[in-house]
Amino acid sequence: MEAVRLPRLRASRVITYGLLLVVSVFYLLPIFVMVVTALKSFAEVSQTTPWQLPSAPSFAAFGDAFTTLAPAFFNSAMLVIPATLLSALLGSLNGYVLSKWRFRGADLIFTLLLFGMFIPYQSILLPLVLVLQKINLYGGIPGLVLTHVVYGIPITTLIFRNYYAAIPTELIEAARIDGASVLGIYRRIMFPISMPGFVVVLIWQFTSIWNEFLFAVTLTLPDQWPITVALNGLAGSLLAHYEVQMAGALLTALPPLLIYIVLGRYFIRGLLAGALKG
């Protein structure tokens, strides 16, 4: 039987690999462009052979991109670290309450919270700017932190609520009978076993906030720009310097890419959580 089936299997395997390679070329093409262009000199970029490998690879463009983007890189770091930690903490507390202390109307509240994650932010942008101006948080990173913490509540709550739902309620009831308080149960039982949930949420929030553009471009002034806005600005200020633009693009993509490479499966879990029913 094996001998008869083998040739057919082999043919289908070759086709599978062939197709996988073709699709991979499509996905890797932009990476090739980024790396190859970033390693060229300006003189070589302006030649008519844009797809050729660099004749003398140089890191000069990375130096230029880094000099230009370093302040924005720092701004992004100052944004993403507090915003990620705060929204994870809020999400964890909300998820705990909504999964283990369900009060009347909890499902309605949860649905209303969730809707906030799907809205186009254009529908809240104007009042957001006005309110941030009024409380003197417009233009800088602190206002952007507040914005990301608030609009991060739905997704972080969703991920933690689903995570805590898998923890047996009997555990909570037993602790309750032993006289533990609501906060005590969170601190001593839920929080210590929350690490996987935190990893998913932290990675998700870090990636989304690092990559975000609409809030960043609307709510910050040039010296406070996060890196995505600064990268977009490069295209205007260094019009034909594609080597610097591509080096800048790589620099912008680097932190989330590193996280993806190291902790990819947690990233995918966050991704599928957003689909509600994965």
Binding site: Y27, W51, F115, Q122, S123, V182, T228, A249, A275
Partner: protein, 312 residues
Amino acid sequence: MAVASTGAAARERTTRGRSLGSFSWDRLTPFILIAPSIVLIAIFVYGFIGYTAFVSTTKWYGIVPDYTSAGLSQYTDLFGLPRFQADIQNTVTFTILFLAGCILLGFGAAVLLDQHVRGTIFFQNIFLFPLAIAFVVTGTVWRWVLNPNFGINLLFDKAHLTFLESPWLADTRTALYGLVIAAVWQMSGFCMAMFLAGLRAIPDELREAARVDGASEGRIFLHVILPLMRPITLSAVIILGHISLKIFDLVVVMTAGGPGFATDMPSWYMWVAVFRQNLYGRGAAIAIVLLLMVALLIVPYLIWSLRSEPER
């Protein structure tokens, strides 16, 4: 045994404690914990939407707020504008092509990865990594690739595939397709991940049973596998559909709505109207139209998702 007796006493105390508990801080703790989030969402989501909706019924343009009522004239004006008509048409065309691209490519990739060949994880990562990258980065690179003078056209030329050459982002007739390609590159991995999870959840016994019944592999695929993918496809359509309606970063970075209004979208026009032209009333009206389009897609989905959630 002393423990047991005090235990019973303690339980009695707890019960008594509970009846008094309506005054105890501990029973209020869950509400106190969740209250900040509820207040923030109530203001920043629902309050702000309400304010935007209100502004959309005023005449407000210029920097100083003007709350003179304009009724629904912002909306009637808006739908009469050629630019906004182009926006709606672009959004619809973009969404249909983007969805089709993501679903076909995503499903195709998922089927290939489900063949249990070696290196599955490796290929899976290649299809998924664009999801971790900022749209601004994607736009920066694809703007280069789709530049008619030195981008992908040169490769097609070398490979004697001149029929594939196109002016891409430089021409009003093709610019939107350029955006679609970049967006599909970025998001199709999401569909792949969803379909792959779905394919892997199909028990082998199901295929075996169909084989025993004499069904060919092709028929099993068409009549067993595909129908099982329907709920996943619906989820993908709704999640990617609402992302598509909101698409902003790619438009700004790749085309800024041009050439002409060939790639203009409501999400971008709203921003231009409010923050560049100070047409606050009009911008607010665009925002509300956009919100309604998204809500039309998302609200039934939210209700469906939460209704079918297993009871706990």
